[in-house]
Symmetry: C3
Subunit: 137 residues, 3 copies
């Protein structure tokens, strides 16, 4: 049984940003030498998520607008009584999802044609981490 | 350590459809011979999801209506500038979730009384795939 | 390869409640003796979820209000024709997510600074179960 762990440090310029990290996940898989198993890719913060979808800029703008409609930044959240201003980022995280698990077959991410792994930052402009944990043989 | 991989090919008649695939997942588990471990069931497309919920037709109609309220098909998405017409399907996928991980205990899916695995198609009428990856002993 | 399985029984006083179960998950991990691997924490019901977020009471009230806005209890759901009154609980479950997978590194839950595991009850006041399945070495 093999295990391989990597931590990505991401620092976005904007409060909200969507970063394609497929290449990083595939790189970690290659280093691990695992041929069969699973990869867990998880945000280590509660104001950022990880999801699988398309690398298409129009869609990414649609996703951002949609998340802002369902969990607006400007709403008065009780969470802001603590001094924070990121209540929306917590809700966006719950909506988009916190982690993904990806199958590994014959040494590669066993994805369909358009699947890409994205890091969704909802409260950026500082260092944040993502863990890649690979488990298999 | 045992690994077992199967691919389901699903082809719905309608654009949106919800298919109970619990029997397929349980069948794959039986073939694998795994007694303890985890099953990953994941859509291989970005306009379809996998979720766990009830096999009740009224609820399934509720889910469909609810998803359509939160991510309507008829909205003008930027993604449609690429020639696609399925922006809503991407957002519905993000909402419902892309994959599930199910515990295996004593050779069976360790589910509570009403849990069933569903494939949620949001842009059907063509062949689409789901991967079942089993890992355990 | 080691496997460890525990079932938590939760019984809330209110219809909706959010319980921090991080301590239970960490306790199960300690008992398992696993140093590297993954923990799956999953609701065994379809009207309750598991998510990772902050242990801050204002935020928890925000989450509850937000879920009630997006999937209101009082709406007339088709599911209620079966005699049930918990259509909203099924939809809230789909939104918040049904399970989480947590990385294990050096014998501990490999979490960032604020990550906590929560059980989200949407139709409580009776015994309900959560499974903790640990897999690793």
């Amino acid at each position: 049984m093999k295990f391989h762990t990597e931590y990505l440090v991401l620092h976005t310029k904007n409060r909200r940003e969507y970063l394609n990290i497929t290449h990083d996940v595939a790189g970690a898989l290659k280093k691990s030498g695992v041929k069969e198993g699973m990869v867990l890719v998880a945000a280590m913060h509660i104001t950022a998520g990880v999801y699988i979808n398309d690398a298409e800029n129009g869609l990414i703008a649609d996703i951002d607008e949609w998340l802002e409609t369902l969990a607006p930044q400007e709403r008065k959240y009780r969470h802001h009584l603590t001094g924070e201003d990121n209540g929306d980022a917590h809700l966006k995280n719950l909506l988009i999802g916190h982690e993904v698990v990806i199958p590994i077959t014959e040494g590669r991410l066993d994805f369909g044609p358009w699947q890409q792994v994205y890091y969704a930052e909802f409260d950026g402009r500082r260092d944040k981490r993502v863990i890649i944990k690979i488990m298999g043989e």
